[in-house]
Amino acid sequence: MSAVYVIGAGMTQFKPHPDTEVHELARQAAWDAISSSGVSPDDIELAYAGHAYQGQCFGQKVLLKIGIVGLPVVNCENACASGASAVWGVFNAIKAGQADIGIAIGAEKLASAKGGFTPLVADDLESSLGRVMPAVFGMMARKHMERYGTTLEQLAKIAVKNRRNGVRNPYSPWRDEITLEQVLTSPVIAEPLTRLSCCPVSDGASAVILASEKVVRRYTSKPVEIRSAVLASGIRNGVGMADDHSEMTIRAARRAYEQAGIGPNDVDLCELHDPFTIAELVHCEDLGFCAAGDGGRYVDEGRFDIGGDVAVSPSGGLLARGHPLGATGVAQIAEIFWQLRGEAGERQVPNARVGLAHTVGGGVTQIEAGATSVHILVA
């Protein structure tokens, strides 16, 4: 089976785009990815489009704007992991010999949803009872704090660190750093999480071009290999994500490390699913960057900073780049692609060779969550 490489990436800025329709945002990202890769639109043999709320045949409508028609297009919904699932789909199609060049697109336009919460999912029981995401992660925080003594200051430091990274990322809307005091005193959304402990709802799009071993050298001398791509869903646990660890993340990461022949100590940077500060701390433990319960101490010691043991969310992450649901998983792959090619500008992780992307998506009553993905990329 063919190895699979990333050869191009594109992204819009993640922020409210009130005057641009979502198909146009996705076109811009897709065209940037195509242009940067050197492929001709006619070379693209297969497409996956990840989104959660953008309607039927979204990917076809986006590609039509570029004049890419006739190819197989799969539209892919896995809540916040929709984009990551799209990358996984293209990866597997190329690996299986279905195509030599494919595009994964992720996009969402949600910032117009007033109030800042993503829409409640009416067909999910607990969601319709009021189990909003800030409440889920508030309870994750309580559990971790009660079990391990993690502090609010440690959680707040994650928001400060990710904003520091985000202001150096031109795709983030923010240009101002924030202080620990600001994070701790901003209005509480769901205890103990304050507004600055939560990611914003954004509009945006991202796209990546993937290529097979057979054709990759035609397009670039600096390909980035996707060494493993793992997608999993939650098992029945009753409590959902309101726990001090994510079983499905631990399970997906173990498989991804095995497939890649790479361990957590080899990872130079991680684009991690951090819709709330506590999620970064918990998932760093789940991904093996530190032992369970040590996350707070590692945050205190700056070991997840750029220049630390593993740079976590050098892009700013969901917290400080933004989180247009379907776009996020693709944007993570784009960020790692740029980082591993040394093209990440002011936020560049020095000597980055191995990157890991992690997403979680979808509250589903009775199971932990709808989806998780782990992709490991190697320069």
């Binding site: 009660e146 009753g238 309101a242």
Partner: protein, 136 residues
């Protein structure tokens, strides 16, 4: 007075005390909430029967939500409840405002307002009320 409607017709029966509507497997005895069409553990169909569940349970986790979403009155409290009957569910707490909430607290089922429809209709569903003074 506003009209009311249950969130779903298969979640609970009102009464003193109210009960939850769940499922039990005749083969394994496992109890599920909400209602199941088949046993999701053994993957067998035809072994599931309707059962009314006692609403006594223990609070495993909780949080207060201060910023709301359309239709929900804030602040509201969310809890994860382990029913004595077996299943675990996440829903709103009732009568929590003057209670020092803590994990391990005993709670009991009440039927109350979850949210309002756009036309003002009160949507009811299962909520859990802390039983003060109970051992942690």
């Amino acid at each position: 007075m506003n009209a009311t409607r249950p969130l779903r017709s298969d979640l609970f029966v009102e009464g003193t005390p109210p009960r939850l509507i769940g499922s039990r497997c005749r083969e394994t005895g496992e109890v599920f909430y909400p209602v199941q069409a088949m046993n999701p553990v053994t993957h067998k169909a035809g072994t599931i029967e309707r059962v009314e569940l006692d609403g006594a349970g223990t609070l495993l986790n909780y949080t207060r939500v201060l910023r709301g979403i359309p239709g929900f009155e804030t602040p509201f409290a969310i809890g994860v409840i382990k029913l004595d009957a077996g299943p675990i569910l996440t829903t709103q707490l009732a009568d929590w405002a003057d209670v020092d909430l803590r994990t391990g607290m005993r709670v009991e089922l009440v039927i109350g307002q979850i949210k309002r429809d756009a036309d003002g209709t009160v949507v009811t569903g299962p909520k859990f009320r802390p039983l003060e003074g109970s051992p942690a």
